[in-house]
Symmetry: C2
Subunit: 355 residues, 2 copies
């Protein structure tokens, strides 16, 4: 049965990528060896790593601009502490827009003074704070571009003279931005890039090397840069599948092309959420709605059993909302086809007809 | 062509495991979804993680003895710093038997006093130091059970009243030991357990929580234990393949059964290295030879071109020695069949006949 996979992450990946990845697990590059049983120093794997790093920079328009792309391990959760370890000497400013921002703030607090310049915690993170002022005496400013759990997304990024650091785990490669405004971008692979187990870090080299503390090797961005992202054995399979997904994105026309489809998907679903009297969106301010994760609830919980039955029968997977929000969450990452959103909208309309 | 994979790591895994893993990448548990595109909180994946953790403890005979098994990220290189972050309050003792021990010592030095109680660096690590005394006023004693690069292995472990910490990356699950003598064992997956990208940590809980520093969440063993090794999104594919490999080991009869075959393989190869006048072993003391990684050289480098051609034509992969040692290294991990070692020995004898 054809599945429509709205999982929030790990999430849907392009089917052709999964097919190639599956083949490589038994026979990679016609070597008669598995991708996962060859040396990471072999030319076949070194070329995977180099290709993945180059594609990441190319998609973001950051080649030859002083940036380095790294494929590390440990997810965004490890970046929460690495960012601070590498960059926080005295004081940093954080924007708190949800669970992941809050965790980033907590970890950074171990390394210096952290100023939470604005937060939407007062309303369970159902909007993006605006009108805040970023102090000038800071080592960096940190924000989360998309809030997977709550379904909000930053549409504009603040101007700041300090380095701009962004956790783009759940919307990287989904929309065109001037990425050169950012000094460090990080993203766990498991949304728009690949399987869980690797983290993309794109860092402008000139912001590094300015803190006085000694940094353990594995937590030091400069160490990883110096070894071309191969200081230690990388997560071979996740990096390879990320490379395949970045190649797939290039064949599709890159971020600009995928953004058009992402906009169509989001418009289709949000239009239905707003039109259908049985549903209401979770996010209070429509301009802050995420195009990756649409959060919504039933107006009347009495329809829950029927709705859950309908979408499950339609082959929809992963629609339950996070426990912090409840209701439903439709994650519409790059690899999700428009057709799957149409199936969800059809089910929402079927519920309305039967109500 | 059938390959005989002597790669030092990432290395050979059981072929039936790779076949199952390949299938799971396109359709896992007949869900019509890939293993890598479902939530790590789904019951299907939670069961993978629980099974992998339980199997690791079962193989080591450490169930219900106060130990926890964790599948983390970042490889042994991350454990070098995590061990010290979590356990080094004042002073720790390290045995230096090679590149990886040296790296562990370097990282630990950032967190407290590190005493290198013995080292074989004076002879390019071609033996295991003996007769050293371990101080009693230490937080822990750390050693590396098998030295992948140099081909040495600890056959006995010292008695110490302090917690015994061991990097078993390249020989875990290959030989029976009294694992309850160890307080913390760690191992990157990519030798006897699975693909690169996850690290097994087996830790006795009562040694934790004794340092005064605050530990960042991702580096804190207690945090990972408290969340059943799912504090953040784990490396789904590497953990799954590790689980499959641990199941395969159980079907084979566990460590005791595989150790017999590992002994046969090592005896077959070392007997030929010692018998064949064209070759000499790298390790100075025969009792310190590794059963996982046999390092050897040609007596006369003039035979190099012919030998390299012979083994390549025989379908042998990954036989070149590490640049620190030169010559050859035959890694004979659990999944390598005895037949592959026989092919290598045949090639060595063929070289002798032609010389």
């Amino acid at each position: 049965m054809k599945k429509h996979n709205f999982s929030a992450g790990p999430c849907i990946l392009p089917q052709e990528v999964l097919k190639k990845a599956s083949e490589a697990v038994v026979n990679f590059n016609n070597l008669d060896l598995s991708l996962v049983e060859i040396s990471h120093r072999s030319k076949d794997f070194v070329s995977v790593m180099e290709n993945a790093r180059a594609l990441a920079l190319e998609h973001l328009g950051l080649q030859n601009k002083g940036y380095q792309a790294l494929f590390l391990q440990g997810g965004a959760s490890t970046e929460f502490l690495m960012v601070a370890y590498n960059l926080l000497q005295d004081k940093a400013a954080y924007l708190n827009t949800g669970t992941w921002s809050s965790k980033a703030i907590k970890e950074a607090g171990l390394f210096g003074e952290v100023v939470e310049i604005a937060s939407s915690k007062d309303q369970n993170f159902n909007y993006i704070p605006k009108g805040y002022t970023i102090p000038t005496d800071i080592d960096y400013f940190h924000c989360t571009s998309n809030n997977t759990i709550f379904g909000t997304q930053l549409n504009t990024f603040p101007e700041t003279s300090a380095p701009l650091i962004c956790d783009m785990s759940s919307d990287i490669f989904s929309r065109q931005l001037d990425f050169s405004k950012f000094d460090l971008i990080y993203a766990g692979a498991q949304k728009n890039m690949g399987p869980a187990g690797t983290t993309l870090v794109v860092v402008k080299e000139d912001i590094l090397g300015k803190v006085s503390r000694t940094i353990p090797s594995m937590l030091d961005y400069k160490v990883h840069i110096g070894k071309d992202s191969m200081f230690n054995t990388p997560a071979v399979f996740p990096v390879y599948v990320s490379m395949l997904t970045l190649e797939w994105l290039k064949e599709k026309g890159g971020i600009t092309a995928i953004e058009k489809i992402n906009n169509q998907k989001a418009t289709l679903l949000y239009t239905e959420i707003d039109r259908n009297p049985l549903f209401k969106g979770f996010v209070a301010t429509k301009e802050d709605r995420s195009k990756m994760n649409a959060t919504f609830n039933l107006v009347d919980e009495a329809h829950k059993e029927t709705f859950d039955k309908l979408w499950t029968e339609a082959g929809i997977n992963g629609l339950n909302g996070h426990r912090s929000v409840g209701g439903y969450r439709a994650s519409m990452y790059n690899a999700l086809p428009l057709e799957s959103v149409q199936v969800l909208v059809d089910v929402m309309q079927e519920l309305e007809r039967g109500a």
